[in-house]
Symmetry: C2
Subunit: 378 residues, 2 copies
């Protein structure tokens, strides 16, 4: 293999795939990035066997030469070491030449590195995903759906299905659900899908989705999502992202979400966020992280207390309350997580009693829903 | 105590003193910040018994009211917790009121905190430093002297004196020396001192100096340095910084610094820095971190090699070399540390053989000197 590539394109390609590099595998080749050069350009691949990322740097972009392939071939280089070196190279272009015994020469400006590479034949092939179940969604919408749900996945491996986000699709409506059994987040969106396409129990690991979220651009370009038996493939321009799915049956959540409420309030997001954040500073000094809402007919009082640290109170006046007065307590971390992924200026919160789950909704966007279980007040 | 203070001034004052708060003391009061209000304003103090910082927020600055003292008094509040709370307060001003049993009420906007304070009488008094040995130096120069020498102090407690920076003063010339016995940094500056003032073995802990460096402003305002038997006091405007000194006799370094050289070269700082940094990426993959200079009559070649990772080479051509050709090896970390604190565009490096210490000098500034011991090339 012998190629010359623009340094910026090389840095970007390594950055795209490096999140899939295994950090603790006992298989040496998995700590590397595979580069393969052919007439189409230079293809970078990394995988930890849970996720895989492949990105092609094409020979030309808008008539500008990005990669010049002088000799086809492939090599695997240590991701960490190669990444560090490339970022520090002095020149605008980088020449990579593979000699005998995987010896790889990297030249840029007057700098020359001789690196020990690994056999690309030992690098696992990414799975071939059969392409019959494909839908298309805007990159920024998919990114938002991930951001607004993946925070609610469980971090405990006891119930593996809860460490993933449930994908369902019916009548062109894609829905994400995540819950750790203390809170639940859902987000829906209409996508471009064949009318008969439908799936109900596709569980994507939350960690994989966070990596996918990083790759997705904040623009309205469509990305293709291929759903197969054991894996999902996302195609974004020259980059492909694979993840395995989680086995098992996701619990039925339809009965958990209340459909009526006894107390409803509309409140300014930023104001509430600030108050709960200030209350949480006291709450997190004690074990349970509890913040209370004391809801009167035109007023919400936010309080917290810790035996060691002290207590805090802050009213939000002149808010709109419908229904009964209520005193309710909850884990402030869950509440703050939910508010962090909300972009709407106002919130709708619906309660059905001090021991029932409450809902955070967006007045301007019915596709989002966040449910939080309260904690008992002693 | 009852005061009203501008939030920004409160945040700044906490930030000034918090570096002196003890992070692991068994004495609870040392994890706090003492606030004391009187007619001059609100005074903040923190100490870990090694260093102490005191800062006064005066009642008025340029006719603007900064602190309004309604009732004099004092309290100690948990530095971490209080600092977190203050940063998040919603209002432009903050009211702090101390009630019975050290209960402290903090009000800002509509937020109210009730915090458990501690008895200020238990807080240690900062030492009274006798003021007969005082010199004055520009804030930015003192900051630079610290930056250029403290990196060379030893991190090993086996020889405590080497964990400090040696201060000496003679004929108005202040000199800092630091060495960990692998490298040595010195920096001098003319300061304003009484003609008879002189000291020779004042050893200031490197850690203390790093905290002092953070407090020093990048301007030419004079700061006063008071040197006493066991401590040094630095007065910067409304802020005072104390540190204890290290006991013991600093080694005589005068014979270590070569006064002649066999090979001298002048080289562009940035170019050399880049090359050594690139070489160090390979060097740090092996234990010894070694980078080599191969000096020819008009050319410097920088190389490094690691059995696992590979090797690197980069020439710097057309440089000015005086004297013999030379092959020398050294710990690249030391070299990079030295270059990081140099602002000159060019460097002068003087060698006296492959097993003798070499000097890094600045062509435009004879007050700075950095010495590095080479390593043996097998």
């Amino acid at each position: 293999m012998k190629i010359i590539i623009l340094k910026n394109a090389l840095v970007q390609a390594i950055q795209n795939v490096h999140k899939a590099v295994s950090s603790k595998s006992t298989i040496p080749v998995l700590s590397g990035i595979k580069m393969a050069a052919d007439e189409s350009g230079l293809r970078f691949t990394a995988t930890d066997l849970e996720i895989g990322i492949e990105t092609l740097v094409p020979t030309l972009i808008d008539d500008e030469e990005i990669v010049q392939v002088k000799e086809a071939g492939a090599i695997v280089l240590s991701a960490r070491f190669f990444g560090e070196i490339v970022r520090k190279l002095p020149g605008k272009t980088v020449e990579i030449e593979v000699k005998q015994n995987y010896l790889t020469i990297i030249r840029s400006g007057k700098t020359e590195y001789n690196l020990h590479g690994l056999d690309h034949e030992e690098f696992p092939r990414l799975p071939q995903v059969a392409g019959n179940q494909v839908f298309s969604v805007q990159s920024d919408i998919l990114k938002d759906m991930i951001r607004q749900t993946s925070l609610a996945v469980s971090s405990e491996e006891i119930r593996p299905v809860l460490t993933g986000v449930l994908f369902t699709l019916k009548n062109g409506n894609l829905k994400f659900v995540a819950t750790d059994s203390h809170r639940l987040a859902t987000r829906e969106s209409i996508v471009e899908a064949p009318p008969e396409m439908e799936f109900t129990n596709v569980i994507v690991p939350g960690k994989s989705l966070n990596e996918l979220g990083r790759l997705l651009a904040d623009n309205d370009v469509l990305v293709d999502v291929v759903v197969a038996e054991n894996q999902v493939l996302v195609k974004m321009g020259h980059t492909q992202f694979y993840t395995r799915l989680i086995d098992g049956q996701y619990p039925d959540i339809s009965r958990i979400i209340p459909t009526t409420f006894k107390t409803g309030l509309t409140v300014n997001t930023k104001e509430l966020q600030g108050a709960v954040e200030r209350a949480s500073l006291v709450a997190k000094e004690s074990d349970n992280n509890v913040v209370r809402f004391n809801i009167k007919h035109d007023r919400l009082e936010i309080t917290s207390a810790s035996p060691d640290a002290g207590k805090m109170s802050e009213p939000i006046d002149e808010i709109q309350v419908n229904g009964d007065e209520l005193l309710i307590a909850f884990n402030s971390k869950f509440f703050m997580d939910a508010l962090r992924v909300i972009d709407s200026p106002d919130l709708l919160i619906e309660f059905t009693g001090s021991m029932s789950p409450f809902l955070i909704k967006l007045p301007d966007n019915p596709t989002y829903l966040h449910l939080i279980l309260p904690v008992r007040i002693y």
